[in-house]
């Protein structure tokens, strides 16, 4: 299995506090890789480091062999990586359509971009209904769909998603995960951070557990009983052992 994203020995710190203490993992092409772990484990930090928003102190992050560390977030998008950030971060004062166009900022094929906007409307009919509405007026679920669609507008080969289910109603979460599986079937490689271990294990091909800035377990769903995964993901191994 070919690794699309290879993260090796990444250390990221906020001032003196190391949030990532040497993280190594990989995400395989065409697969859904999921990262689970308790709050404060460093999952979002890892996503932000991969997307180039945070600069690591050490380590390397390679996309198909090309180093991403040191590139600006915009260059990383240009390399085919898009992040759907935690809390969605849509542009609230811009219309749904403008949010989508912002996602295609680097593309010069305006005809294709217009076709992709239509494709997003077909995939997310709710966005089509609200295309001229300001993104800030959308519901949480609609904003999440918009954030996913905005990320897809850059035509990424690797889609990073940071807690797409956060704060959403169960039925909306199910819809979002349906979309994740669908995108993956269409060939998009997905690297997902998720709190909802039950759902994550349903779609993931491979998963990692992270705790206090380190990867503590790597496996395939089914290798470890789900309740054990959940216990470790939420409580952490240290606390459950003690």
């Amino acid at each position: 299995m070919e690794a699309m994203l290879e993260i090796a020995g990444v250390v990221t710190a906020y001032g003196k506090i190391e949030a990532l203490k040497g993280v190594s993992l990989s995400a395989n092409r065409g697969r859904i890789t999921c990262l689970l772990g308790p709050n404060g484990a460093g999952k979002t930090t890892l996503m932000m480091t991969t997307a180039g928003v945070l600069k690591p102190r050490q380590g390397s992050i390679k996309l198909e062999g090309n180093e991403l560390v040191g590139l600006s977030p915009a260059r990383i998008v240009g390399n085919g990586v898009a992040l759907v950030p935690e809390n969605r971060l849509v542009f609230p004062q811009m219309s749904v359509r403008e949010n989508l166009l912002a996602g295609a900022y680097q593309r010069n094929d305006s005809g294709e971009v217009a076709a992709d906007v239509e494709q997003m409307y077909a995939r997310f009919p709710r966005l089509k209904e609200r295309r001229e509405q300001l993104a800030g007026t959308l519901s949480g679920g609609e904003q999440q769909m918009l954030a996913v669609a905005r990320a897809l507008m850059s035509r990424p080969r690797l889609l990073l998603m940071d807690e797409p289910s956060l704060g959403l109603a169960p039925i909306v979460v199910k819809e979002i995960f349906g979309i994740i599986a669908e995108l993956n079937r269409e060939g998009v490689t997905i690297f997902l951070v998720e709190q909802n271990a039950h759902l994550a294990l349903q779609v993931a091909h491979h998963f990692y557990l992270m705790e206090q800035g380190r990867v503590t377990f790597s496996g395939n769903p089914g290798e470890l009983a789900e309740d054990e995964v959940i216990k470790r993901a939420y409580l952490g191994t240290r606390r459950s052992a003690g």
Binding site: A74, A82, L89, F91
Partner: protein, 304 residues
Amino acid sequence: MIPFIQTTLDGLMVGSSYGLLALGFALIFGVMRRLNLSYGPSIMVGAYLGTLLYIQFGAPTYVVAIVAVAGSVMAGVYVERLCFAPLGVGAGVASMVSSFAIWMQLEQASLLMLPRHSYPFPSLTSSELLSLGPLVVRPDYLIMLAAMLAITAALHVLLYRTRFGLGLRAIVENSVAASLSGIDVQSTMLKAFALASAIGGVAGFLVLSANQQVTAMLGMWATLKGLIAMMIGGLGSIPGAIVGGLVLGVIEVHSQTLFGPQVRDLAAYGVLFVLLVLRPGGIFGTTAISESVGHRGGDRWTTT
């Protein structure tokens, strides 16, 4: 009634130059949420370069205009690279303080070029008044008003009809999300800074050619007028900058007519004070400053 209308009209004309100054300020503040106190001194550098060419070599007016705008842009880019680009989005105070230090530097550099307190500046038109029925206007003020309208319209098109404008607005809303969408935040900010300085340069040139002289107070004057007009209109608001400038101009000219020139600035500060007490966000600031300014989208994810 006619004198009142005449005074108001004069105020609007003067205010259009304040509006232009505030426009540049608002553009920088809107995008970066940081105050560039060196905005006026940057304009001064451009104006002084133009003046130098004018008095030393008798450069024609259009050359002076081009040099004034280009010099302002150069100085603005210098300020951005030195005070804004190296400091993160969160370092608003550090940028402001360092831009204050650069203010002194730019002002001293200008005074080394031309050490006297004032110099002549080429005028754009004849000083003959145009009459509009019972009212009269100065042609150079009319040009100022036209320039303000044209630049505002052009800025609107740029912000709402172009890809650059889309990127700029995205950065205003959330610079982290903008960078994750593939927008090069650093270079877009630099371009916005250069653009704002160019608008300031145009404003500076038009005001000086109307006054037909340039003084060492230019830097201070431009920063103050632009800042006050922006604060009246609403921090970082483009329509607010224009309205704030016009309001400031009308207040100043009316108070000068009523109470004399000594009261002119006093009245402007008084109105600013009352306005900020009643409406801290300015006329177009729909929310309080803390909400539009203190809340950078970029910080949101780090706090969770």
